[in-house]
Amino acid sequence: MMSETIRKPKPRPAPESLPYWQAARDHRLALPKCESCDKFWFPPTRSCPHCLSMNFSFENVSGKGKIFSFVTYHRVYRPAFEADVPYVVALVELDEGPRLLTNILGIPHDQVTCEMRVEVTFDDYDDEISVPKFKPTKG
């Protein structure tokens, strides 16, 4: 009972983002890619924001990118995050272009910087959902 109330919010996939979450469950990062203009976009929608084409498929991306910007939460907005503060929420720009909101793991919050190279890692929420997060790229 108690553990239910303090769990972090579970993503509730929309029909158009279901393939994204299905790939994430298999620990793959897959984004919609336009078959007309060849560009990726995020978040998933039913038409390409670059050319309005409705022909697209979910394609794997490299999972590598850099931190465009980030913030560090000190205030607890929801009890589920109380143990995490201070925690970093970052906007990661993938090498393929799209920017994703995410957490940065594996590095003290005060060492995170803009432009830092990062790569995807997956945080298993339960049997259905794995949440893509990022960590500094080694080397």
Binding site: P9, S17, H74, R75, T102, E115
Partner: protein, 396 residues
Amino acid sequence: MIPDITPARELRDTCAIVGTATSRLGKVPGVSSLDLLVEAIRNALDDAGLKASDVDGVLCRGPDESYSHHQLLAERLGINARFSTTLTNGGASQIMSVALAVMAIRFGLAKTIVCGFGRDTWSRTHSSEEARVRNETRPESMLAREFGPEYGYFGATAAHAFGATRHMHLYGTTRDHFGEIAVAFREHALRNPDASMKKPLSISDYHAGRLIVAPFGMYDCSLRSDAAGAVIVTSADRAKDMKQPPVLIKGFGFHNNTRGWFADDNMVVTAAKQAGEAAYAMAGLGPRDVDTAQIYDCFTYMVLTQLEDYGFCKKGEGGDFVASGALRLGGALPCNTSGGQLSEAHCEGMLQIVEGVRQMRHTYPEHRQVKDAEIALISGHGGNQVCHSTLILGRA
């Protein structure tokens, strides 16, 4: 990248603001946002020497959950309205309502229009223990479904803090710069008996304030207020014979970076850039002509970046500009001279318009008046951080 359009210069100086007022500001428990707005409008009508029956247009923004809020408002005012609607661009709505009023009056759709906004944010979130708990424990159903809450991403503070971090990274801006904005506006609030914040704020107080979402601490964040404001717009011809010195509407402009706050460079170059260029073009003015700026200050950083986007300094030089003391009364560009949303009260940009009008009237005591001010620039920012409005006022 400015679209090849010509702002309607023929709208310049065709209309004036002839009345303005606020409701009680700050903590006004037990009064709805609609009642606060009616209070502000009644005070504005008194200020203008008009009756509600003199008004034939009503433009407002309502609470997000209110349907056709202007109808509720006009019913309270006891009037039918020729021209009336509700705007929903968040903090960019209030200036847009003034611009719509000018267009409607200029093209004969109405004669005298009241524009206003009221909110009861303090009462909803802080007035009681029940309100606090309700605010802190919103049900899951009110959160975004995905791509945010699972990462612990909540609230407008973080959204704007992303821009602050990026600006600091690109240009070496510091929290000392943000702090100077908070300190300057607090100093202005101390001169304003209606302002919510009554205690002085030093830069060391600023740094001692607890962090909320870094790089923002508590003094980077605007207030939660019960507040309403209103202005009354009519033609410049009719304004000549009225109770108050008319304040001319010289220009306005809009831009919406609707590709998103997280897209492109939008978090460091805001839509204030194009909105400002359009407003300057209509007014036939530039940043050097502006004597006082009333900038939408939901967070300190937003002031700094808008000052750059409006051309008061170059992009990236906002830190040095504010550090020079420019924003203070007596400085090069006195800014948010009533204390702003950081220290007076937060009414989603409505009080910025009220203060701009008052500065143009030259009726303030010396310690509050921007000396010899002839032109005021006012900004509105809202939606999901991407909608922007600019208004330029001048003395008749």
